[in-house]
Amino acid sequence: MVVSLCGIAAAIAVLVVVTALALGLSSTATVEGDNVDYWIVPETGDVASTPLPSEGPRLGSTHDIAFELQRNDRIAYITPVAIEPIQLTSATSGNETYVLALGVLPADQQQSVVGADVSQLNATYPHYANGSYNGVWTGELLASPAAAAQLDVDAGETLRTGQANQSFTVQDVTDSEVTVGVSQVPVVITHLAELQTLAGLADGDLADQILVATNDDTVRETLTGVYPNTEVVTRAGLGQIDPTPTSLPFAMALTAGITSLGIGALFVATMMGLELNASRQRLAVLSAIGFSRLSISLVLVAETVTVAVLGGVIGTGLGLGCVVGLNAGLAEMIGLPAVAVLDSVLVVYGIVTAAVVGLLATGYPLYIARRTTVLEELTQ
């Protein structure tokens, strides 16, 4: 019984840890606005691609395309989004950190991108200067709470970059965070053209995706074909597409689930079967004193499922402990933010899986019970 408990606990603990890792990997942030309805993204990526810039393809001539599409009355707001990690230093506190910079076009009216109102940016957008990128450097920047906290800055304070004439001033600290898994990502939002200049994306006018806000679903046809080798993704479609660029997290979770079910069921069945085999007399006694075959079967099923669920509870606790330890260890050793997600759904998942393991494992004990002959056992 103890061995069965330990076996199922180990299987469920591994399941919980791997699933938590898979959840962590799949919980990548999206660059989205509250009113954004379409995303134009390279085919090799999607709107849910990692917030860190990939080395994959980027979109070119994004200003021209955006300005062209902006003339369409059905489009309320359109902006290319360049995503680039940059190093910023607070002129006040001296704090220095890498943040994720998003370059966007300012909006005429309130428009949210990753929780920041981009209408706070200077709508004249001077630095672009018709594509010359030599207009006035505004240095306007909206900081997420995590970015502001790490840099120890507030609105009005100055942030320096590596370039002497390209510093930023915090316009506002937004209310909402961008999270990856359970960790908050320090994000700043600035003018697209200024980020392009800073990050070397001005040549070719590169950006990672284009966000489009509209109330007219016929806009999609207009957007399709704007760029070759891109796809237009809708908000409604988000729920239907893989939330990550690859299927790795899903594959991990699926493999962990199947492995836990398979190994768990085989292990519990074998151990319960062996234990039962060693105590066939117990079954014979139950039968001798009048327990029906059905009642004995129910006793065995209840016993097996109870052992499995108890093991599942222990395993889930162990797994969650391992997740906490893993996250803490990685943070301590290499400064990595939480890679595995702690979620209450893991508790339910672990215990339900254990119960299924228990049910799957009942076959062998029931087979042994069926083959047990009362007289053979009681006359040995």
């Binding site: 007399q281 117990r282 014979a284 006694v285 139950l286 039968s287 001798a288 004193i289 009048g290 327990f291 029906s292 075959r293 009642s295 002959t373 009362v374 007289l375 053979e376 009681l378 006359t379």
Partner: protein, 238 residues
Amino acid sequence: MGAAADRSERSLVTCDDITRMYQQNESRFSRGGGNTVTAIEDISLSIDTAEVVGIAGPSGSGKSTLMHILAALDTPTSGTIEFGGTDIAALSDRERTKFRMETVGLVFQRFYLLQSLSARGNVALPLVERGVSRRERRQRAETMLERVGLDDRVDHRPRSLSGGEQQRVAVARALVTDPALIVADEPTGELDTETGKRVLDALIETTEDRAVVIASHDRRALDRTDRVIELLDGGRRE
């Protein structure tokens, strides 16, 4: 036939010409194939309510086989065994299990208590299948343990009880459903004289409204019975 019918009307259990054969070289209890061994042959007997019957005989005489048939754990190859007008031999496995639950109390030489349960739990076990409420099971089990002198051992596991105490728990388990027939196979076989006497007391004191059949090698146990049926080589010794 007329004599048998007459006997059946008066008796709790009536066996007529029961024979039990086993096939050798296969599972002892499987039928078909191998050499045939006759464990008991053409045994007829009747047992009345309130009667204590001893079954005696040397090893291999067929005592245990006869006890198993009386307890409805086994069926004869031929012959009939009637209990209250019902031929037990004709019942299906399922029906015989139900019959045992309702009618028979079993006491084995090796006690066969469940080690994971307390004395109370073991005694209450047959009541579980009868659908008796938890509270009543507990109450009846404790009453029965008190009756066999183990009221101070109700929470003890079998391992912490002596052999005599374990056998008295087994007797209490056999009596708790108030069966019409108690079948006790060598109930004192593993006990010393004094302990064996206490176990027999517990068994025999309860025979007012039931029959007790005791198979034993122990002459002192057989002396406590109303009559003894002697077996030899599978048949009744004349």
